[in-house]
């Protein structure tokens, strides 16, 4: 569709009839040239030695386009060009914090990464050295457990909402409450998990699986929402064709609906994992922190990357340097994990989504 939109109008050449229909236009080279100049100035302003004010100069250069257009092409075209400018500006503004954060994390985290950093825990480490092995394992285990809890619940709920309960009052309520659940502050989820586990294990309980429960509270609504959207996109003709062949409803769901929506579901689930893997507050409350490796979700404290990062920054040792470096390294590793997850999700949706769809 966008190919229709993107095709530059004046390509049909200088036919006199066409031009009389088109009205007066800016010279063809003007918008791209000014845009290029503006981008160049902005880039020099951000990365070069001259100063950030060049960015403003660049923007002003770009702002010439709509003004010129107003003089030549009239107000409608000028408005269109102005909006193009504004929309592009919005995107550029967004890129700035992203670039800034990524640059900070990568430049400060990358020097820390080494084989020792990935294979050592913090047991018996003071000052330099040590690594994030324990926190990495903790994060993977707790997140995997959270996913193991959330995905079945979330998926089955979505199936209920779309396949069984659609249109019923109960489904309406569940949809609404799932939306409310997306708004639960993460620290409240942590407190809830803590209170729940205190009932069974007594005060002061610290358990990896508690962290998984807290993360599930945050993750389930995201899974439900994305699975629901994906199940909705499955064409009803497929279901009906299956029913017509005498296939029971549940087998239709398992064999027809889910495979069709699979790519989208995997994408949604992966994004949900990415959403919770960086949570700090709930894990702080219920999973705690330890310096040693712990593979048992049901016994004792488990370090996780976000909590490790938080404490490495908040209570560094003396000198604070190595601890803060480790924090940046851990943040970078977390970012890489999430990037890979995102990438995997996109690849899955690219390779497995039915061809010909959007």
């Amino acid at each position: 569709m966008t190919s229709t939109l993107q095709t530059p109008r004046p390509e049909s050449g200088a036919s006199p009839i066409a031009s009389s229909l088109r009205g007066r236009q800016l010279p063809r080279w003007v918008p791209p040239a000014l845009t290029a100049a503006a981008v160049l100035l902005a880039l020099v302003g951000v990365f070069g030695p001259v100063g950030a004010w060049l960015v403003l100069v660049g923007w002003c250069v770009a702002a010439v386009i709509p003004i010129w257009s107003l003089a030549v092409e009239g107000s409608r075209k000028a408005m269109d060009r102005l909006v193009t400018l504004l929309v592009s500006t919005a995107f550029a503004i967004t890129l700035f914090p992203l670039g800034s954060i990524l640059a900070t994390v990568v430049s400060r985290g990358a020097p820390v990464l080494s084989s020792e950093f990935f294979t050592y825990s913090m047991r018996n480490i003071v000052g330099e050295g040590g690594g994030i092995y324990h926190a990495l394992m903790g994060t993977l285990l707790i997140t995997a457990a959270a996913a193991a809890i959330s995905i079945p619940i979330g998926l089955f709920t979505a199936i209920y909402l779309i396949e069984y309960g659609d249109g019923t009052r109960l489904a309406g309520w569940i949809r609404f409450l799932v939306d409310v659940m997306t708004g639960i502050p993460s620290i409240v989820a942590g407190l809830f998990a803590y209170a729940l586990f205190v009932i069974f294990f007594g005060p002061g309980v610290r358990m990896g699986v508690g962290g998984a429960v807290a993360l599930s509270v945050l993750m389930i609504p995201v899974v439900v929402r994305s699975c629901e959207e994906m199940l909705k996109l499955v064409p009803n003709e497929l279901r009906e064709a299956s029913y017509a062949l005498g296939v029971p409803k549940w087998r239709t769901i398992v064999k027809v609906v889910l495979p069709t929506a699979l790519a989208g579901i995997v994408t949604g689930v992966t994004l949900a994992i990415a959403r919770v893997i960086g949570e700090t507050a709930p894990l702080l409350v219920i999973a705690g922190l330890t310096d040693s490796v712990n593979f048992n979700l049901f016994d004792g404290r488990m370090a996780t990357l976000p909590v490790f990062t938080y404490f490495s920054i908040i209570v560094p040792g003396v000198p604070p340097g190595p601890s803060i470096e480790r924090a940046w390294g851990a943040a970078l590793v977390l970012l890489i994990i999430v990037m890979l997850l995102n990438l995997a999700a996109r690849l899955v949706s690219y390779f497995f989504s039915p061809k010909g769809e959007r």
């Binding site: 069984y164 309520w173 409310v180 502050p185 549940w250 995102n342």
Partner: protein, 330 residues
Amino acid sequence: MGCPPGTTAPSERLTIVTSTQSPERRRTTPTRPGDRIFRGTSLAAALLILATLAGVAVFLTAEGIPGILASPDEVKHGTGFVDYVAPLVFGTLLAAILALTMAVPLAIGVALFISHYAPRKLAAPLGYVIDLLAAVPSVVYGVWGISFLAPALVPLYRWLEDNLGFVPLFAGPASATGRTILTASIVLAVMVLPVITAICREIFLQTPRLHEEAALALGATRWEMARLAIFPYARSGIISASMLGLGRALGETMAVAMVLSASGVVTFNLISSTNPSTIAANIALTFNEATGLTVNALIASGLVLFVITFGVNFAARAIVDRRKDFSGAN
């Protein structure tokens, strides 16, 4: 609720067809145990979610009520609960609303850029880049806010104080470190931006192609096409996306706790170092050293936050449902 009406309507219609006809058919064939089990499992999962939510609410209420009822001398903050929580509610709303004011227009712009302005080949990678922002742990946002953003904003705050000091928002004195509620809101805006952008983008992309091409065929410019074909269709989706972003902004804990110089006052002054605190940040900052009824009071403040997010979602839902009837999509 993010689902635009255009996609639900036809599928709903079709579902009705099947559901009205299939029971009659099924009566002739015996219900299979597999079907019953599957239906039961999915219903149980849905009910489990309700139970979890009820659990959260019950837990917050049960633990919170003693804190609400506690007399001033039993808790550390030494005031009644309403006096304690009111400035926090103010700060929470102020920070979240400021963040949304910045994030929503930007997000709509970015989503529009990705879906309709950027070259088609670039759209997917650009979306990926923006989604990355959602993945950055909030601790990293906090550190970035302290060490990079706040100092960078100090000159701006000085300038605002000198030139716009007569506006109460910028009355100053400007913070020397830049760790103001405005800075915290900017960090929050960056954090909620990808959430809003992702949803808006998906909805913009789902705009019926016929509507867009009809607009263009009538001679509309690209902007007019967006205004006439995309926005009416996407309005409810934009609102629900903003509400999701608002929910995220209201509940964000660590980044605000690290960036904001919080004093628990009520003020509209955005650039001084004396700022209102937020509920979530306040919980994070005081929970560790809290004992006894103070803990209950903190949990009660969590309940207040929960009720606020509940209300926000309720409102969003209501708006979206109402808008559905008027949206130009159908």
